[in-house]
Symmetry: C2
Subunit: 545 residues, 2 copies
């Protein structure tokens, strides 16, 4: 068992299972960049290990259609062409993604139903129905010669789901009776006591809000991928006689895919184009939009900032945030709320969201149904994995059988023992524009330095052989100080460069790298003493014969 | 009434009150930079209006000793030398700050007691006892010919404070009987229903944690300024026979000031130097440290990252976060918690903090005691101010008398009416190193651009008159791609520059700015098409005769 991502972090879920000549891979997600990854668009897993063992790799089995489980597939499938197995909606969303990329050759894809098994080398994989914040989520029972591993994927226990049925607890129990070697269970909400509320409770809140605000336009921001949430907004819209407008590219994509595949029940004519909005009074309209995380370029943020071309916020608009801010997004969300409030909108955030992940009691339920020998918590930062291990110990699993792994660990599991037998490459690979992996730590360090301090460029033209100054020093700065206000500073900088240069000539220093260092160091000293600042200093020497 | 900061934002509190020839200023705080203020250390208020009316300015009256109320004083007092009035601990903390700066000449300072009034021009200012997360916090009754304005400062109602007495509710009531023209009341927690818990409840939690972890070292991270919290840690330490070590520069400063002035009751010999730690077993020690917000350079973060020179985290250490993450700091706090957990520490965050700000029911209490004619909410983002105005309306204040101001608004208040009569400069001024206000929007925009995309510098030496290329193009990049991996890219870039230059020569373009634009545009096009990236491109032309 080799997790190539998803441990010690939220996101970029991918785990390889290997036995003899067979490897199957569960999920292939991306993660969003950390704050210090300046300019990076997304992070994908390092699949070097899979490439080196490509003959063994039988395929990807995917638990559900969220970015942190499918988002890296287009990148990875460009490098290794292996089949992909997933439930219907999940596959629909994967196909959406693949359309945006050019694969060297088509990839085999197979839609799997709940309860169905597929044989991949010496593994048999069974898809088990679960509940999550997207339909068609599956847990996996991985049958191997070493025993059965149950991987929950992201899940919760919802006794009244909006779409589909309750998680197949009977099957978990049956597997438990057979004997489960290891349980790999979602840790996202392991710090939360009690049970996660049913998705349906949000529908009740929507109904109340629609009833209380019958005179105003309603705008609901939520995750594009939360198809059940969208369903409930449409349900309330129908009940209260409103037309629905969908805004935001990802929202339009997901809704059309889900509706096409029958995962969204859309009454005829309820959805209208944005252009038709003007034909309806505000109180007959609901907008469903992206931007619930305060993302600067998302539709709701543009509306709030008066930058949206087609929708402007009017006093009286009722804006519902049907989401919770993901850690790191709190301030952006707050900014959008302030902007909306300033334009006279009423903003509602209470009881408008429930999590898609199991809380403590639900996790305990899965342990007591499956009774695994080993507990290997997945999907979480270290603090979550550790808390999860402690919870598993509370469920009677011996401490030595609760295993907190790091990405890249190679764990050998048998009926007798669990042993860490190695380590493979599992750092995330950064994607910036079309570049995959061409931005590394040096580049990021430079971006960091530039972002905090700006830069000063000093250009000199020297005569070859004599090192006489033919032109310059020219000084150009960016992101340092506003130049017109600091001409004196640039003048002083110039004389420091002259002096440094003269010292070099006097001492017969002709090595350019030494001249550059001298210039850099003297200017750097001066600026630190004078301003307590530390810009990047780049001396460039041109040579003319 | 002219708020120069503190409205539509949390932080940088400062409000001027003017009548005839007198101006008094309440508070003089700083704010911490927003995410987009790259490289900025802090933000201070723009006091242009005070400088222009310096003859009228009678002094600063300060409500309490937190950074967002006193932090800008050293900067502002360098520009306008006026007296400062504050309670004892507040003044002690102000003096700490002033010591770190060089003022052109000494500033008059006067310590004021609760219940005492000072006369400043035609104003009389009375300091009223309140509760907050620092001792010696005061509300102000501002008596003016136009009427009485009550400014709460930051406050809560604590019936069992750790130090000092409960907020002087009787005085608020008395003022209400006399007739309060306007109430300016803290909005920080106006979204929170109910009452804020007493500071003393945290002491109980500490006792429980000390009892439960009697075999381990305890480390408590909290705000340096929360003197009452520190008192409670010391109380528990004494009760459970532990020595106390204080770590972090600001923590040491505040504790010594508070102890000196009698705001901290420190049993003899309980505090030891860090060097003495080795003489005690872990279970006999408590460390009180900075870093509760996950700040990269703070003591706890350095311990967690194994970068602290004197303390390393050991398995079994019990680390208490006695704080809540300030919005924007959640991810950093989480990172530190993960690092601590990985080193085997037990991290406790539950029930270890209470807010220092009044919740809804406490705010209502102040309204019903003071019964102001006008409600002017302060200390909050727009959403808070607006919610506060609605709460005031719920308390019977007519809608037109609840006034949500922006920083810079000039509000004229009389017994008859409240009128917005103007606007003064009130943008924050950014401080970067020793530079105050020399980093503006252009510099920040460049830093942003550099941080996300890096830069490419192209240097050419041209012959004067003929524009013949004498040297170059040399291409230097930083923060763009790791150069050794992309030599082909730099080669291609060079040929694009050559081509652009040739086009210019062919078309007899001799204007250097046009040549630069041609180079920049063609390279920019190429990189966007090839990589979907947009680095800053800086062509520099040197001229040699």
């Amino acid at each position: 068992m080799i997790p190539l991502g998803g441990l010690e972090q939220i996101g970029m879920n991918i785990t390889a299972f290997e036995y003899d000549d067979s490897i199957v891979v569960v999920d292939c997600g991306l993660s969003f960049p950390e704050d210090e990854m300046l300019g990076i668009d997304l992070v994908i897993p390092d699949i070097t290990y899979l490439k080196e063992n490509i003959d063994k790799v039988k395929g990807f089995v995917i638990t559900h259609g969220h970015e942190d489980h499918i988002g890296a597939l287009p990148y990875v499938l460009k490098e290794i062409n292996v089949p992909v197995y997933a439930t219907k909606l999940t596959m629909g969303l994967i196909e959406n993604k693949l359309k945006e990329h050019v694969l060297p050759k088509p990839v085999k894809r197979k839609v799997v139903k709940y309860g169905q098994s597929i044989n991949l080398g010496c593994f048999r994989i069974e898809f088990i129905r679960t509940n999550h914040s997207i339909s068609d989520a599956a847990a996996l029972a991985i049958f191997s010669p070493a025993g059965i591993v149950v991987h929950t994927g992201d899940f919760k226990v919802d006794y009244t789901p909006v779409n589909g049925e309750t998680i197949d607890l009977q099957r978990f129990a049956e597997l438990g009776k057979k004997g489960v070697l290891a349980l790999m269970c979602d840790s996202t909400n392991v710090m939360k006591p009690g049970y996660t509320m049913s998705e349906r409770t949000v529908g009740k809140t929507f109904d109340n809000i629609f009833a209380d605000n019958e005179k105003h336009r309603i705008i609901v921001a939520t995750f594009a991928s939360n198809v059940d949430r969208v369903q409930q907004i449409i349900n309330s819209a129908e009940k209260y006689g409103r037309k629905v407008v969908v805004e935001g590219r990802s929202m339009v994509n997901v809704i059309s895919t889900a509706a096409e595949l029958g995962y969204l029940d859309v009454p005829k004519n309820i959805i209208i184009e944005m252009e038709q909005m003007k034909n309806y009074p505000p109180e007959k309209l609901v907008l469903i939009t992206t931007g619930s995380q305060g993302e600067a370029m998302a539709a709701l943020s543009r509306m709030a900032a008066n930058l949206h071309r087609k929708v402007s916020i009017e006093p009286g608009d009722t804006v519902i945030f049907s989401s919770r801010p993901i850690p790191g997004n709190e301030k952006n969300v707050s900014k959008v709320i302030n902007e909306l409030a300033q334009k006279g909108a009423k903003v509602i955030v209470q009881d408008t969201h429930v999590s898609g992940h199991a809380s403590q009691e639900e996790i305990k339920l899965i342990y007591s149904l499956t009774r695994p020998k080993y507990a290997i918590p997945v999907h979480g930062e270290y603090q979550h994995l550790k808390a999860h291990a402690e919870l598993a110990q509370g469920m009677g699993i011996p401490k030595e059988n609760t295993i907190v792994l790091s990405s890249g660990d190679v764990l050998e599991l048998t009926q007798e023992r669990a042993t860490l037998i190695g380590k493979v490459q599992a750092q995330g690979i950064m994607v910036d524009g079309l570049g995959v992996g061409d931005v590394g730590n040096i580049v990021l360090r430079d971006r960091q330095h530039l972002s905090e301090n700006g830069l000063i460029i000093i250009v000199l033209t020297l005569e070859k052989y004599t090192n006489q100054l033919l032109a310059g020093p020219d000084i150009v700065s960016r992101g340092f100080v506003y130049v017109r206000e600091s001409e004196y500073l640039m003048d002083e900088a110039k004389s420091i460069v002259y002096a440094a240069l003269e010292r070099c000539l006097d001492n017969k220093v002709s090595d350019w790298s030494k001249i550059k260092t001298e210039i850099k160091d003297s200017l750097s000293d001066y600026l630190w003493k004078k301003m307590k600042r530390n810009p990047m200093i780049l001396p460039i020497i041109m040579e003319v014969e």
